[in-house]
Every structure is written in structure tokens, then in C-alpha cells.
């Protein structure tokens, strides 16, 4: 008897492709996505943090510090960028403080370092009174500034050991009663050795020789460079991640509810109601338009409820962002409604819809950043995420609530969402042809 039941269970699974996909493909695709997010993109590459660096000091020390930063595998140092509004082929120009700040403000990167003029003369002071490096940050990414600051200290230590040692000896000379001529001569020759070693490392790095990679040299010395952090966005916000997660969760569940509600089409096909409606004065295009608007209404309500909850319980500042919120909500709900219609028109049964929509929605939600913020992913994964429309929706909400973006700054997100909406609607209409006259 048990054998019979086992056989029935096996046959059911063998003949149910949706169940097979849910059992095998969904976990594998999820594993792959998160493996790529947290473990590089599958080519052994680790995620590197893009950091803009502005050299206002233009000294040998600042140049050496920047070179050391560039050697850090955990960082991708950005020294140049196109001017705002420049044409596609326009050459990049060296960053200045204002441009770097704008890049952080726009969300192009989360951290910018400004090495101030006079940094050279105060580098390596152990009394904490040196000219501080200014770190411009976007607090929506709480990890990036800490990574950048830590690697900055490491780079400072390894980039100019001779300068550090000389400054140390100067202090020692001053407060210990003075060095003997012999000690002074020995320290001078040691300085030359340190300088030679630092130069040799730079040359080796230039040749791509990883034998002397910065990570192999060890450190354990922090606090060489004073860092002054300034938040360039969201400075007054009490709980920045709330807006991100409100949007992330709202968009993901919006997709689920849109596909479930879109499935009413399949119920109506099964019950014969759709056939009956099509015998009235309503055509298929009118029917889909009605369903689409109905799904949009549902989506708008869902997002509004979610953000109201976030406002009252988690102190999200909804009221000062109402216009941007309204536009993004409408655009996101419209795209999600079209998505729901495509899923419903593509599937033949409710069961199929349920399985396929779960797989698709969870996948694009992971890629699009509903589960794990895209700005914490590697650059490659961030780019891959852009193929899912919910990434654009999330970016739009983050722009509204975090970057206080003006309406015109939302145009890229709105444009992409509008294109998705139209494209998906066309696909849904084409797929719905099977329900028209047979």
C-alpha cells in the first residue's frame, strides 16, 4: 500500500512541471542569485566599493596615498567623471569637490574622499591634528563609509612609511631629549630604505606583480589619517532604511497581489464568465483595460497602506514627499498591473499561475533589490538587477524619500517603468487572443 502511495506521489510530481520547477529550479535560482550577490558574480571576483577621490592637495604624499588606495582590491577609485549633461562621447574630467559631492547625492556612489590642500604637511601626525580627509557619504549605505575609512587608514600606513617614520622620529627627537648624531645618521639611512621599498612596491604594482600586494603586507595600525565625515544626503532623516524597505517589500508584494488578482481572469475563463462577458458589448481590449485599471487601483491602495503604516509606526516622512510618492506609486502600480496581466494571460490554470508567478516574482525581487539593497551588491549585480523593472521602481522610491529628488530627476525611472508598462500590456493583449473567437 505504501508502495502504491509512493508511486502515485512520484507520478504526480513527474507530470507536474510547475511542481518540478518549484521544487528544483526555484531554490537553485535563488541560491545562484544570492551566491552572486554575496560571493561575486561567479568569476571569482569580489565586490569592490566605488569611491570617488578628489586630490586638492596635489602633493607627492597625496599622490602616493591615492595610488595606495587604487591598489586596494576592495575599492574602485574613481578620479574622473563626465561633466553633468556632457554628451556620450565627451571626455571625462578630473573630479573636484562639487562634482564628487553631486555623485554621492545622485546615488552614483556611496562615498567620496576629498584630500584637502595642506594634507601633505600634516600627514602622519600622531596627535590627531592633521588636516582631515573629508569623507562625503550617503548614509543609506551604512557599510560603505566604514569600509572606505578602514582601507584609507591601511593605505596611509603602507603608502608613505618613510614619512610616517620621519614624523615619528621628529616627535621622538623633540620629546625624548634629542637623538645622538649616530642615531640620526642611522635613522636617515632607514628612511631611505623605507622610501626605496615604497617606490619598489609602486613599481611592482605598476607591472601587475601581485607578489607585494598590499593585502600581504599586514597593517594593524589605525588612525594615521583624520577623517571628517559629512553626510550629503538624508542628514535629517531619522530612519533611512525604512523608506527603502517600505518600497522594497511593497513592490514585491504588489507583484504577488497583481498576479493573484490577474488570476481572476483564469477563474472567469474556467467558470465561463469571461466568455459571457465577451458576448456583451465589451471586447477583449476593453475587458483587459478594465482589469488593468482595477489592478492599478489595488496596487495603489496596497502601496499607500504600506507607506502609511511606515509613516505612523516607523516615522517615515511621507507628507513632505507626497508628489514624488504619488507619481512613483502610480507608475509602479501600472507596471505591476501589466505584469499581472501578462502572467495571467500566459498561464492556462490557476495552479500554473501560482507556481510560475512565485518563481518569477521571487527571482526579480531578489535581482531588483527588494530583499537585499542593490547598493550593497557588486556593480555587476547592480547592472544585472536593472533588467528587472522593480529595480527601477525601488530606485525611484529611494530617490524620492532619500535623495529628496525633484520630479524631473525621476524621469529615468518613470520612463523605464512606462516602457515596461506598454511592453507588458502589448504582450498581454497578444496572449489574450486565445480567448477571443475560436
Amino acid at each position: 500500500m505504501i508502495r502504491t502511495l509512493l508511486r502515485i506521489g512520484w507520478l504526480n510530481l513527474a507530470r507536474d512541471r510547475v511542481a518540478q520547477a518549484m521544487t528544483f529550479i526555484l531554490p537553485i535560482s535563488f541560491f545562484s542569485i544570492f551566491a552572486m550577490i554575496f560571493g561575486g558574480t561567479g568569476r571569482g571576483e569580489t565586490a569592490s566599493l566605488p569611491v570617488a577621490v578628489v586630490d586638492e592637495d596635489r602633493s607627492g604624499v597625496s599622490a602616493r596615498l591615492i595610488r595606495a588606495l587604487e591598489k586596494e582590491r576592495g575599492l574602485r577609485i574613481v578620479l574622473t567623471a563626465k561633466s553633468p549633461g556632457a554628451a556620450n562621447g565627451a571626455p571625462e574630467v578630473t573630479l573636484d569637490r562639487a562634482r564628487a559631492e553631486q555623485m554621492v547625492r545622485d546615488g552614483d556612489l556611496s562615498v567620496a574622499l576629498v584630500v584637502p590642500a595642506g594634507f601633505d604637511s600634516s600627514f602622519g601626525r600622531f596627535d590627531g591634528r592633521g588636516r582631515p580627509v573629508l569623507m562625503l557619504t550617503d548614509p543609506s549605505d551604512p557599510v560603505a563609509p566604514q569600509v572606505a575609512a578602514g582601507l584609507m587608514q591601511k593605505a596611509a600606513m603602507t603608502s608613505a612609511p618613510d614619512v610616517l617614520a620621519r614624523n615619528g622620529l621628529v616627535l621622538f627627537d623633540r620629546y625624548s631629549g634629542g637623538l645622538t648624531p649616530k642615531q640620526r645618521q642611522a635613522s636617515e639611512s632607514w628612511m631611505k630604505l623605507l622610501r626605496a621599498r615604497a617606490d619598489a612596491e609602486s613599481a611592482a604594482d605598476a607591472r601587475g606583480d601581485t607578489a607585494m600586494n598590499a593585502t600581504d603586507r599586514g597593517d594593524g595600525f589605525a588612525g594615521l589619517v583624520t577623517i571628517e565625515e559629512r553626510k550629503v544626503v538624508g542628514g535629517k532623516k531619522t530612519n533611512g532604511m525604512v523608506s527603502f524597505y517600505a518600497a522594497g517589500i511593497a513592490v514585491m508584494f504588489l507583484l504577488f497581489s497583481a498576479s493573484a488578482a490577474g488570476g481572476s481572469l483564469l477563474d472567469e475563463v474556467e467558470s465561463g464568465t469571461l466568455d459571457r462577458v465577451l458576448t456583451t458589448r465589451v471586447g477583449m481590449t476593453g475587458l483587459l483595460a478594465g482589469k488593468w485599471l482595477s489592478l492599478i487601483r489595488l496596487g495603489v491602495l496596497q502601496i499607500v497602506v504600506m507607506f502609511l503604516w511606515a509613516t505612523f509606526v516607523f516615522k517615515l516622512d511621507l507628507w513632505t514627499h507626497l508628489p514624488g510618492f504619488a507619481v512613483m506609486t502610480l507608475a509602479t502600480a501600472a507596471t505591476a498591473a501589466s505584469f499581472g496581466l501578462v502572467l495571467a494571460t500566459a498561464c492556462k490554470t490557476r495552479q500554473q499561475l501560482s507556481g510560475i508567478s512565485t518563481i518569477v516574482i521571487l527571482t526579480i525581487s531578489a535581482l531588483g533589490g527588494s530583499m537585499f539593497p542593490r547598493f550593497l551588491m557588486s556593480e555587476t549585480m547592480q547592472k544585472i538587477g536593472l533588467v528587472s523593472f522593480n529595480a527601477w521602481a525601488l530606485d525611484g522610491f529611494v530617490k524620492v524619500f532619500w535623495r529628496d529628488a525633484r520630479m524631473v530627476e525621476l524621469l529615468p525611472q518613470l520612463g523605464v517603468l512606462a516602457a515596461w508598462t506598454v511592453g507588458l500590456l502589448i504582450i498581454a493583449r497578444l496572449l489574450a487572443r486565445r480567448w477571443e473567437m475560436s
Partner: protein, 314 residues
């Protein structure tokens, strides 16, 4: 596609179908069906499952595109899905919104059929009264019995006062009491001037309700006319006799049809007074005892059996 000519028969039909053809792959669902529906007439479309009744109704409703043939509604050719404002369609399925109340369903289908404002309110009130669901107007349809759903299903298709109503097996799955209530609704509908085309495989329904009957089998019209005409043209004055014997006959008895070999036997007699005593004598002579005997008047069942050699529900 050239439109085949529709033959004039002297009447002024509200609906005409000429040489309707439809295939699904290798299966021919309709193989040249022609019929007419007169003003105020109730026409029964009779046939077993798979005869092509639903395909024909769906073609009339604009849901199936014919491969060939023509349809005219009030003299106007119907092409595609449009031009059917005066047509009411009652599908075989309970095509209602289960979470909506009776009133809300009526309102929804009324609006979809073009009713608005006071006219809509008036027709919804009429629908609730006509179906006897006035007291349940606010209850969700999913709580209704099968018969109540059927009645509402019909009302939703006729709320906009169509002059021609297509009813695809409107009494499927309802108990005799509910069925009689639906028959009464259809009689009232017909009395209001509507022409009805009713598909069914229930002989009693066709016999008791329909003015004329069209018998469809394998996608073709095999006979049509009033019940009397059908009987006259097929079995004439013959009667069908059913005999309950004490056991199965050991060998063939003249006049008895080849049955399944059981104790129930059938015979067709042309003249009851002359042929029946002779049949009884032959059975008795064969050593069998007749436990019961039934002589049936000519029925649609007999007509159908005569025409197709099969029971209707096969």
C-alpha cells in the same frame, strides 16, 4: 468567403442560419447546419453530447468563427463578434460572479449590455422578481442553490430585453421542481414577445416547451419540425412496447428487438390492436411469462431512436 444564399420560406424569421460549418482540427463540429427561428417562437435544438449544439450557439453568440455558412439576425448578416445588441445569451455554465450578490450580478451584466440609470434599476428589479430572488437580492451568489443560480444565470442574459435569446441547456443539473420554475420563466419570457432558441438533451423539456424541434447529430440537422410532424415523418402511428419478462428469451422471438439478453425486451408495433396480441401469443408460446407491459405513446425519444438508432444520452 462567398456567403451562401439563405432560402426564403415565406415567413419572416428573426434568426437564420445557413450551411454553418465549423471544424476543430480533424473534428467537424458543424457540417452544414441550416435553421430558422420565427418571431415569438421557441425552437428546441435537440441532440446528444457532441452533436454540435453548443458550437452552434457559440457561433450565434459571436464566440466561434464559422469556417463557412452565414448567420442573419433580423435580416442583418452577422460577421465577427459585433451587431448582437438584440441578442441575449444564456450560457451552459453558471457564468456569474460568485462573490457578488444577485442584485450586483444583475447590475453588472445589465451595464455590460448597455443598460444605464433608471432603466437599469427597473430591469434589475424586474430580474429579481422574475427569478423569485427578491428576498435573496443581497446574498452572495455562492450561497445559492443550483436552481437559484440557474435562474439568475438566465436573468443576467435577458436583462437588456433582447428580442432573440439563446439558451444553452439552461436546466442542466437542477431538480425537477427548479426545472419547472425555469420553464415557467421561459414561458413568461416568450409571452413578452422574445424568440427563444433552446438547446437541450432533455426530451421532456423539448416536448413540453418547444414549438418546433431541430434534431442535430454529428454536426448535421437530421430532422426538424413540430413534434407531431416529427412523429408522423419518422415512426408514424407505431408504438413502442416495453415488456418485463420472467427471464431472458432462450432464442429470438419474432417482433422482439435484439436486446442485451436480459429480461427487459422492446418491440415496435405498427397497430397496437392487431400486432400486440400476436406478440404476446408468441412470447407465451416460447414458455415465457410477461410480468409487466408498457405501451408508450409516440415521443421524441422514439423519434430520436428511430432517426439515429441510439438513445439520446449515448
Amino acid at each position: 468567403m462567398r456567403r451562401p444564399p439563405i432560402e426564403e420560406d415565406g415567413t419572416n424569421p428573426v434568426l437564420r442560419v445557413a450551411d454553418a460549418r465549423k471544424s476543430y482540427g480533424a473534428t467537424e463540429a458543424l457540417r452544414g447546419v441550416s435553421l430558422t427561428l420565427g418571431p415569438g417562437e421557441l425552437l428546441g435544438l435537440l441532440g446528444p453530447n457532441g452533436a454540435g449544439k453548443t458550437t452552434l450557439v457559440r457561433a450565434l453568440a459571436g464566440r466561434v468563427r464559422l469556417d463557412g455558412g452565414a448567420i442573419e439576425l433580423h435580416g442583418q448578416p452577422l460577421q465577427g463578434g459585433g451587431g448582437r445588441e438584440t441578442l441575449g445569451v444564456v450560457p451552459q455554465d453558471i457564468a456569474l460572479y460568485p462573490l457578488l450578490s444577485a442584485r450586483e450580478n444583475l447590475q453588472a451584466f445589465g451595464e455590460l449590455n448597455g443598460l444605464r440609470g433608471a432603466n437599469l434599476r427597473e430591469r434589475v428589479a424586474w430580474g429579481l422578481e422574475w427569478t423569485g430572488l427578491k428576498d435573496r437580492a443581497k446574498d452572495p451568489v455562492k450561497q445559492f442553490s443550483g436552481g437559484m443560480k440557474r435562474r439568475l444565470n438566465i436573468a443576467c442574459g435577458v436583462l437588456h430585453e433582447p428580442s432573440v435569446v439563446l439558451l444553452d441547456e439552461p436546466t442542466t443539473g437542477v431538480d425537477p421542481q427548479s426545472r419547472e420554475r425555469i420553464y415557467e420563466m421561459l414561458r413568461r419570457l416568450r409571452a413578452s414577445g422574445a424568440s427563444l432558441l433552446l438547446t437541450t438533451h432533455q426530451l421532456e423539456e423539448a416536448e413540453s416547451l418547444c414549438d418546433r424541434i431541430v434534431i442535430l447529430d454529428h454536426g448535421r440537422v437530421i430532422e426538424s419540425g413540430t413534434l407531431a410532424e416529427l412523429v408522423s415523418r419518422t415512426i408514424g402511428s407505431a408504438r413502442r412496447v416495453t415488456l418485463h419478462l420472467d427471464r431472458a428469451p432462450a432464442s429470438a422471438i419474432a417482433g422482439l428487438e435484439d436486446g442485451a439478453g436480459g429480461s427487459l425486451a422492446h418491440a415496435q408495433v405498427s397497430d397496437v390492436g392487431r400486432d400486440l396480441p400476436e406478440l404476446i401469443a408468441r412470447i407465451t408460446a416460447a414458455g415465457l411469462r410477461i410480468e409487466d407491459l408498457e405501451v408508450r405513446p409516440p415521443s421524441l425519444q422514439s423519434v430520436f431512436l428511430h432517426l439515429t438508432g441510439r438513445e439520446l444520452r449515448e
